[in-house]
């Protein structure tokens, strides 16, 4: 095989892997939008908050320590030296469920039957408030997140592919970050679990009923509020997974909330209401932007294409299929 072809395959593979990371964020958006019609602008901050909380629990950090010390003249920083990863993840999940409950109580409950734009504005407010609370609770230092997921280039793949190039060519194997492989495995597991949950459990069926028709679901005795809490909690859990993956890659810091921007073109492409759409959309965006950066950018000798090229792809797609690849077709009856 020629080195050019191998490089092309490597770019596509890396694009797919990056796409999975975007899909992880997009999944949270889709779940909430499907169940409640709310475009949750705070999803990126959810991921940040979950990752901050996880590191906080892992390292035994006292929440609001700075505030407490400032107010009472104390000097509290850490409760304990470390906590096992499993326990820290479990506690973070409980925190995200509690957060979903608080959001339902303080925000959503009061906005039932409001226009979608009002709910959207509420989530913008929620994003800023949660970012502020996260800062107060855990501080804004860069935090190292390690839950034992391996990262770095795959030596196995490098060694397995080094011989594929034509003899005498200067090629040293294909590159893939092991962390991204793990993200793919986890994303697949998440999607299968979500599919099984929604198909084969009573709560899952109730969730689908609410997603299909709020009024009809209410008429058969499904509690809209419990379903909302549940769906926001699941979305919080997905945000935690996304936060772990992204946080492991770059350290946990406030720029993590901006990963939401990576999910927007994915949603436009895949549709706001489809879980497979979030996955396929992510993969397409991931591959598209990497190919654009390396091949179009390389040809014209320009760089930094990958951020905006994803949006170009999404906009082009909007022209032909506004509801996205798998989104529900919009039919307005007059």
């Amino acid at each position: 095989m020629s080195v050019e072809l191998l490089n092309f395959i490597e770019t596509v593979l890396n694009g797919l892997m990056s796409g999975v990371m975007y899909s992880l964020v997009a999944l949270g958006f889709v779940l909430i939008f499907k169940a409640s019609g709310v475009f949750n602008f705070a999803q990126g901050v959810f991921a940040l908050f979950a990752a901050l909380t996880l590191v906080g629990y892992q390292t035994g950090q006292v929440p609001f320590a700075h505030l407490i010390n400032e107010l009472f003249g104390t000097n509290y920083h850490n409760w304990y030296a470390s906590m096992p990863n499993f326990l820290a993840i479990l506690l973070t999940m409980i925190t995200m469920i509690a957060l979903a409950w608080i959001i339902e109580r303080l925000v959503l409950k009061h906005l039932v039957n409001q226009d979608p734009i009002i709910l959207f504005m509420a989530t913008i407010g929620l994003a800023f408030a949660l970012e502020g609370v996260g800062d107060l609770m855990w501080g804004s230092d860069v935090k190292v997140l390690d839950v034992g997921i391996p990262s770095g280039g795959s030596i196995w793949l490098e060694e397995a592919t080094i011989g594929l190039a034509a003899e005498g060519s200067d090629y040293y194997g294909m590159y893939i970050d092991v962390l991204n492989v793990w993200a793919t495995v986890i994303a697949v597991f998440l999607v299968i679990t979500l599919a099984l949950f929604s198909q084969y459990t009573k709560t899952g069926r109730a969730l689908r009923a609410v997603a299909d028709d709020h009024q009809a679901a209410l008429s058969v005795g499904i509690s809209l509020r419990s379903i909302w809490i549940l769906v926001w909690a699941i979305s919080g859990f997905i945000a935690m997974v996304a936060g772990i993956m992204w946080g492991t890659e770059s350290g946990v810091q406030f720029s993590l909330s901006l990963i939401a921007l990576k999910a927007l073109p994915v949603l436009i492409l895949g549709g706001f209401t489809s879980i497979p759409g979030a996955i396929i959309g992510g993969l397409l965006i991931g591959v598209g932007e990497k190919l654009a950066e390396i091949y179009i950018g390389g040809f014209f000798e320009i760089g930094a294409l990958e951020n905006w090229f994803a949006y170009v792809m999404a906009l082009v797609f909007l022209l032909f299929r506004p509801q996205g690849l798998f989104g529900d077709k919009i039919i307005e009856r007059v």
Partner: protein
Amino acid sequence: MRIKQLLIGMTASVIAVSSYVEMAIADLKFPMLVYRTGAYAPNGIPNADGFVDYYKMINARDGGIGGEKILHPECETGYKTQVGVECYEKNKKDAMVFQPMSTGITYQLIPKATADGVTVYSTGYGRTSAANGKVFKWVFNAPVTYWDGASIAVRHILKNNFGNIKGKKIALVYHNSAYGKEPIRTLQELSKKHGFKLMLLPVDHPGQEQKATWLKIRKARPDNVLMWGWGVMNQVAIKSAASIKFPMDKFIGIWWSGSENDVLPAGQGAHGYKSLTFNAPGTNYQVHADIKKYVHDKGEASGDGSHFGTVLYNRGLFQAMVQVEAATVAQKIHGTSKITPAMYRDGFENVNLSAKRLEELGFKDFAPPFKITCENHGGSGLAAVQQWDAKAKKWNMITEYMYGDSSVVQKLIAEDSSKYAAEQKITERCG
């Protein structure tokens, strides 16, 4: 009776307010443009803490500068240029100096501050050609500029290649902003001079996703990578370099890509990464002992005090020290402690931080000595290379402080500043 009491109360209030205003004018106002929130907060906070702790220490230990207390109101910019300009407008009255902490904001403030008669000090960042004091009367960027930095990095690479880098490939991974683009012109000139091939790799804000950039590096296999990054871009770049097994001792960041924040998330992978620096890390300096005694031990530390001695905290101390020294010099020149912004600028232009003076100020061996003159607002142009030891979790200085390539840098400064002078119709001074 009630009316009488009311009148007395009102009179007392008016007297109190007017005496406060009088006191405020007599004090020296050093507004701070900070970013304690947002994507760049992890870097903004330690730097701002360094400033605040130094000002507090001077107020507590010396009673201020020449008896005048330092006022240091903060304005949050979030590293956003437009917000930075608004902060400047809000705080410019009676301000001695602005430290924008962003090259984008600095570019916007240069014409404004020049028209308003306010000093702008961009320590080792901002518009490089502002080093030419003949054109940029109100702007200072000592002790070293980005163009010096670019040529110092190339000098270090030259040294490691026995003086010959002809045919070598050097990649520049840069923040796709005014800041990141600053060294390109110099590197292009140096590439012509030394015969190396320059690869330019921009990374968009904030730099969370750089996979394509590092795939390009993996394919092109440059001999060295230079980085002009900030915030999360640094952490992701260092981690990505480690992940593709790029030799870390051939990866050199500018001084804003060389803090503990940048290397810690990459763990052992960051071992051997290099960056330039113009100040030392650590707490073994007199200034730290004084801050501990007069500020931290009294529970007055800015933030939670956890950044004490880190690279960016120490840089904040250094920046604040230069600003305070400029006021001290201005007071001496004009024979009054109650200096005006114009007097302050005169002081800045006569700052002479010799080794002896640095020692007197508690900064012995903390940074190389430098002097500011009417012609030279860029200082000594000295920087050293530090290397990260991931096991010990500390930076080690591995070179002496070095000069850049003045034959290239000075020519570019002259060209760029003349262009600016022509555009703005500025007559060169210092005659």
